[in-house]
């Protein structure tokens, strides 16, 4: 199987079955254009809002619900954005969606994609500013959204995805499709969270 993989791409080098290397193909990349994007709100590296551990985040959920989500993580602690930065970033994100003409499309760009895009660009902005303390306390969550929130109607037919952020002022929920936001305490589906992916 590995031989077939190498045959398909000469840029993939195999040393043994457990280890190959994918060599970046810069020539193929040169055929791409550029992605125009506006300036996001500046992130201050070395942010002073503090870090939250997984236990801290779980404790914050515990203050407002008896049914906290399972938290999936690849790190132990996360940088909390300054709340004012989050508000500015949220506005920038809405503009970015419009400028890229990103609209809802089942499976290929639906609620989880909006949420993951929000998270990915937030981390990118922080990395670009030289943030080295770690990833942001910004994750995408799945929730049973029985009640309407942020312009998305309530539904009992499946799960919804949105964004959860731990800022300098606590835990907040953002509907990334519209930018609507509420503190976790005021979020109407706070008892329906399933997974939080950080």
């Amino acid at each position: 199987m590995l031989v077939a993989l190498v045959a398909l791409s000469i840029a993939v080098r195999a040393e043994d079955e457990a280890l190959s290397h994918i060599t970046p193909d810069l020539t193929a990349l040169s055929r791409l254009g550029k992605a125009p994007m506006s300036q996001p709100p500046p992130w201050v590296a070395g942010n002073k809002s503090g870090m939250w551990s997984i236990d801290d985040i779980a404790a914050e959920f515990g203050k407002v619900t008896d049914k906290p989500p399972r938290i999936n993580f690849s790190h132990d602690a996360f940088v909390r954005p300054d709340h004012r930065w989050l508000l500015a970033y949220r506005e920038w994100f809405q503009q970015m969606l419009k400028s890229l003409k990103l609209e809802y499309r089942d499976d290929v760009f639906d609620c989880d994609n909006f949420a993951r895009t929000f998270v990915a660009f937030a981390n990118m902005v922080a990395l670009r500013s030289g943030e080295t303390q770690g990833s942001l306390c910004v994750g995408w969550a799945t929730v049973a959204n029985d009640k309407a929130f942020g312009g998305v109607p309530g539904s009992t037919l499946g799960l919804h995805s949105l964004v959860v952020v731990g800022t300098s002022e606590g835990l907040f929920v953002i509907e990334p499709q519209t930018g609507k936001m509420a503190s976790l305490r005021d979020y109407p589906n706070r008892d329906g969270f399933q997974d939080l992916n950080l």
């Binding site: 791409s9 993939v12 506006s38 690849s74 969606l97 003409k101 499976d107 639906d110 990395l127």
Partner: protein, 195 residues
Amino acid sequence: MKPLLSVLSALAFLPLPAVAADPLVEMPDFPLPAFAMDDAGRPQEMGMIRIVRGLQKGGVTNMENLVAVDNQYAVISSDCLPMLSAWLEMVSQSIGIDLKRVRTQTYDGGVYGQLLEVATTIATVRQTDYGLAVPIGVMTCKRSSTWGSLPGDGKRDAYLLIATDQGFLVYDPPTEQAALLANYPNHSGILKIQF
């Protein structure tokens, strides 16, 4: 996530803002992956059953660790992996990060996995009419055994997991290391897979 309605469509009447003259970064455009095609010239589809079977072949036994939120995915052709790898390297470079050295600092593979997933998804939705999600996921595992230059120190680590025409491929962008999931030495220590 099928039942959800598009709230953005309600905003369609709003005027589009002008493209900003002040760019974020000189980043390369979002990369459209090559997809493995079926006989009819459409992308090969991968639903939950095929995902689970593929992961089982790769040695994953506990599917409670799997989060796959879309119904159907398009299988990625392994031909395009070097291009996707280059995109990640160039974007990192454009924001001042040397991807090859990033493991010397605080590193979260989930951030890079999510960035590539988001970028390829944006390209797919803008350039194709495929109603299929892009199967680039993030795999978190305990690295009990040495894998290439990555030590078997028992620490938690995150990699990209890509569903390709050759099977599920584990990829670590900073080291450029890759392996089919079945051959990845820590597949028994997988803590989470997210697509």
